[in-house]
Structures are given as structure tokens and as C-alpha cells.
Symmetry: C2
Subunit: 156 residues, 2 copies
């Protein structure tokens, strides 16, 4: 939505930062791929389509800014790239980031949004004095195409 864009512009102005084409285009690129988990390089390539002069360093700097403003979240699938996706806090009031199913065979990543651990968080806060504000869950397994359905039968 353009909601992210408007919020970004507002936040930039609030902080005395400048609203530039490059910044808007980086956010737009990320927002245009809500199902993807983009690397800096991928975002760079996307923005270059409509703005070929942009530099990779600018993309990195903008990503950092967007992350500080909580407009995007970082995710790490341990494949050597840090990835980014539209933030869970983006405008709306959802407080938790969403989670990921990761296929161990083909590497496919499926996102899902669900508050998995509310109860557990409350319990830990009460017993350990550790006040939890967010959680991140990665589930590893095998997707349907990679044998998720019937792998059980093949074992033992």
C-alpha cells in the first residue's frame, strides 16, 4: 500500500531527513514483492529498472534507515545474505513479525503470520523476569513438492 510510503515520508520529515527519489524507490521495490525475502542486491536490481543511476551503497544505506524506522524487518536464512521484508509494525498495530517455514531440500521459504507464542511469552515473563516483546520462529522441514506429504512413510 501507499500507506508505507506516506508514513516513510512523514518519518523522514520529522527527523529532518530528505525525501529523495532513491529512498522512495527502495521502499517501493520492497513493498512490491510482499511474498519475497529480498537481498540488498535484489533490491538494487529492482530499483535500477526505473532508476539506473542508483548505487548499491545507497541501497544499503536506505535499507539501514528503513530498518531503523521499523518499516522493514531483517531476516537471515544463513545462506550468506541478509534479507528484508516489509515490517510487521508497518503502519498497522501488529506487534510481532511473521514467521517462516523453510524447506530443507529446495530452500523454498513460506511465510505465515500467526501469534504462536503469546502464552509462552507470558509464562517466561512471569517466571524468569525476562520481559519479551517479540519473537521469531523458523520451522524447518520438507515442502509438499519435496516429499513433505509422504516422507513419513518412507522412514524406518
Amino acid at each position: 500500500m501507499a500507506a508505507d510510503r506516506e508514513q516513510f515520508i512523514r518519518l523522514l520529515k520529522e527527523k529532518g531527513l530528505k525525501v529523495t527519489n532513491q529512498r522512495l524507490l527502495v521502499l517501493e521495490a520492497i513493498a512490491s514483492c510482499p511474498e519475497e525475502h529480498l537481498t540488498a542486491e535484489e533490491i538494487y536490481e529492482l530499483v535500477k529498472v526505473s532508476y539506473p543511476e542508483i548505487g548499491l551503497a545507497t541501497v544499503y544505506r536506505t535499507i539501514q534507515l528503513l530498518n531503523e524506522l521499523n518499516l522493514i524487518d531483517r531476516i537471515n536464512f544463513d545462506d550468506g545474505f541478509v534479507r528484508y521484508e516489509l515490517g510487521s509494525a508497518g503502519g498497522r498495530r501488529k506487534k510481532h513479525r511473521h514467521h517462516h517455514l523453510i524447506c530443507l531440500k529446495c530452500g523454498r521459504v513460506i511465510s505465515f503470520q500467526e501469534d504462536l507464542l503469546e502464552e509462552l511469552e507470558a509464562k517466561i515473563t512471569a517466571t524468569a523476569g525476562f520481559h519479551i516483546v517479540d519473537h521469531e520462529v523458523k520451522l524447518y522441514g520438507y515442502c509438499v513438492e519435496c516429499g513433505g506429504d509422504f516422507i513419513e512413510e518412507k522412514r524406518e
Copy 2:
């Protein structure tokens, strides 16, 4: 325990790999810090105490081997280092890795072992055809020293 060591030696022999001092010392270093989440550099420094000739590259290569053998697990706290800890599958039959409470203020990491998501895993396997075999959970918040206890009162 020395159980890890024996298992390591057995696995090396099974695969026609050589049992070297360096390999045993790297595993020993990790096993000697069960509460820590060591970086490659930290492991290197630990091993150097008893074996100063070891090279950092050997540590990296051994870590990779240990990880492939499932004797250690990788964890990433997004601070620029990959970290390692004794594997959840190490000898015993625990199938899930353990989880982490991460303090957003001081960075302290507390591990805990608990099967959090058995039910959820079963549900997703049944409905999405995605067969889950492991999960990783990171909980973010504030530890007791950093105001975990009373931060609730300070907010609005």
C-alpha cells in the same frame, strides 16, 4: 561429556577421515563452554591456549565438519558472527535444537530447552503438507538487569 568426543572419533573413522589433535581440540573447546555461543574466532583463541600452532582456517574447516556431522549447531544473532554450540542431536536422542532469549538492551543471550511447538508442527504438517522436522525460536525482550521486571509499569 566425553561422549561427544567418542562419537566424533567414531564418525571420523567411519568416513575414512583422520583423527587429528586439532579436530579433537576444536570439539573440546566448544564442549567446554556449554553456556556460551562461540564464534570461530573465540574457538580459535580457546584452542590456541593448548595448541598455539593451530590456524584459523583449520578451525573454520573443523567447525564445518562438526556441523555436517550434526555435532554442533549454528546460531546467528545478526551481530556479524556465526556462532556455534554443542548440537542438540549430540549422542542423545533429542531431536530439536534449543532456543534463545535475547536481551535487546545488553545483548545477553539465555538458552532454554523446551519443546515449544510440537502441537503447531503437527497442525502445519496436517494442513499444509509441509513436513516439519525442526524449529528454531528466538525471543526478544529485556532481561532482569535491563528492566525486564518493571518495564511494564514505565510504559504509558
